[in-house]
């Protein structure tokens, strides 16, 4: 084998080694969806995003927020493309979840919500299992959780607060821009002084 061949082989091995986690394998599938033009962009959200920013706690499913290539396409058509793709891969379904490499994955179409779109477009890149994975940043997660307003969402904001994960100025600007400041004020008694707006 010539030098060029060795270089190609080494390059292939370093760029895409077999994942050691199930999540790494899921990210590979999402990458294939992007290569096929089924989704335009994505970012991990929800509890798994919180864990990647903070510390492991008990959760059993994975939220993938995604954008479609053509905003004019109907959501039904877009989801059917995702379902068709995963069906060809042999993955099973259970209600809203697609079972991919050991993870119940929920694909959340984000195009209709400008906060969610911005969250995907501004997502952090993290190295997970040798893959460059897009993860919604702490401030956008907090804004999305205050938007949802469930007790378990407030608890996750409290965790970020405790760990000093959120920039108070960036968060305030975000909440103001998306008209979520009043929602925040209803729950801000749970957070420390720097987050009292």
């Amino acid at each position: 084998m010539g030098k060029g061949g060795i270089e190609v082989l080494e390059s292939d091995m370093t760029q895409n080694p077999s994942p050691s986690t199930n999540l790494g394998a899921v990210v590979d599938v999402v990458g294939e969806m992007m290569e096929h033009g089924i989704i335009a962009d994505y970012a991990i959200g929800g509890a798994v995003a919180a864990i990647l920013h903070y510390e492991p706690f008990s959760t059993f499913d994975l939220d993938i927020f995604f954008l479609i290539n053509d905003g004019a396409k109907s959501l039904v058509l877009d989801m059917s493309e995702i379902y068709d793709f995963v069906r060809t891969k042999g993955f099973e379904f259970d209600h809203e979840f697609i079972m991919i490499h050991g993870w119940p994955v929920q694909f959340v179409e984000a195009t209709h919500d400008s906060l969610w779109v911005e969250a995907i477009q501004n997502a952090e890149i993290m190295d997970v299992d040798g893959r460059q994975v897009k993860v919604i940043d702490a401030e956008h997660l907090a804004a999305m959780w205050i938007q949802a307003g469930r007790r378990k969402d407030i608890r996750k904001i409290e965790m970020f607060n405790e760990a000093g994960k959120m920039d108070a100025d960036i968060l305030k600007a975000l909440l103001t821009r998306y008209d979520l400041l009043s929602n925040w004020k209803l729950s801000q008694h749970n957070f420390s002084d720097e987050y009292q707006y």
Partner: protein, 70 residues
């Protein structure tokens, strides 16, 4: 248990918990996912054991997770 000993045990547990949390917070993203996937397996095994001993049914989230394992 003597109150002083009880307090010392509680303090020691708190200290160990703080050390563990400091450790897991400073893991790499990959290591956090490795811990999470291990936690999922252990949680399911515990829930399955409880169910087998007649102490409550495995909840739907865990059942869905189990299904995803193939």
């Amino acid at each position: 248990m003597n109150t002083n000993i009880k307090d010392a045990v509680v303090e020691d547990l708190k200290r160990r918990k703080a050390v563990m949390r400091h450790y897991v917070r400073n893991l790499s993203p990959t290591e956090k996912i490795v811990h999470l996937e291990l936690l999922q397996k252990r949680t399911y095994a515990l829930a399955e054991s409880r169910q087998n001993n007649g102490k409550g049914e495995i909840n739907q989230k865990l059942k869905t997770w189990r299904k995803a394992q193939g």
